[in-house]
């Protein structure tokens, strides 16, 4: 493709001032959605920028509401907690499931079955 060289130029200069995520990768993800036929340059830029803001926002609010504030750490469970507790992050619950112990899960399963049996 003849547009490749200029595209690369755009990316390197853009990353210095505007966005750090690769715009071409974001486009690839967007295009993987079957309904999308074409995306203009501004929309592509905005989505890339929004994704950066989202990463910052998710990391910071998980840290601020998480358990690792004293130990200065951010863990998976902090993220899972945020996905569950914060309305705007609800769409992440499928890919950020809360981890539970197998023994706890089996217990709750048993309980559910008992309740079902009662009914």
């Amino acid at each position: 493709m003849s547009g490749n060289a200029t595209e690369k130029d755009d990316q390197t200069s853009a990353s210095r001032r505007n966005v750090s995520l690769p715009i071409s990768r974001v486009r690839l993800i967007m295009k993987s959605s079957p309904d999308v036929s074409s995306i203009n340059q501004d929309a592509l830029f905005l989505t890339t920028k929004a994704t950066e803001l989202f990463v910052q926002h998710l990391a910071l609010s998980s840290f601020n509401h998480g358990s690792g504030k004293d130990s200065n750490s951010l863990s998976y469970s902090d993220l899972a907690h945020t996905a569950e507790q914060t309305e705007t992050f609800h769409f992440l619950t499928d890919i950020l499931p809360k981890k539970i112990l197998a023994s706890d899960y089996l217990k709750s399963l048993e309980q559910m079955q008992e309740e079902d049996a009662d009914v």
Binding site: L28, L46, T51, E52, S73
Partner: protein
């Protein structure tokens, strides 16, 4: 089109840097947490795309534009992103416009410089000779 599933991931190094910049200094982010945030970011792109696409379809347009993405942010209740996004877009647009002008200016400067160099090369030996004579 994405040929391999890893094509739908965002580069880990960049994601890690963005996380680091967002958090206070010295916070340790577990590998599992970084991976999860990266996956969340990919899902965010898909979700935003699908919302934006709905707005484009409603308006009977085939191409997603900036307004669709901003409307999607509102729909997703990420209004807090609207102002920074609008500002960034302004800067980006100026940059895009400016880039053409800059490269043209550079080319002109270069032409000017080479012609100046040429004329200087022609002039300087004479000037040097004059100096010697004086």
């Amino acid at each position: 089109m994405a040929e391999r599933p890893e094509d739908l991931n965002l580069p880990n190094a960049v994601i890690t840097r963005i996380i680091k910049e967002a958090l206070p200094d010295g916070v340790n982010v577990s590998k599992e947490a970084r991976r999860a945030i990266s996956q969340a970011a990919s899902v965010f792109v898909l979700y935003a795309t699908s919302c934006a696409n709905n707005f484009a379809m409603k308006a009977k347009r085939k191409t997603l534009n900036a307004g669709d993405v901003l409307a999607a942010m509102e729909e997703m209740e990420f209004e807090r992103f609207l102002e920074p996004l609008k500002e960034a877009l302004e800067v980006y647009k100026k940059g895009q416009k400016g880039k053409k002008e800059v490269s043209e200016q550079k080319r002109k400067d270069k032409e000017k410089k080479t012609s100046e160099d040429k004329s200087r090369m022609e002039e300087e030996p004479e000037a040097a000779e004059e100096d010697v004579e004086n």
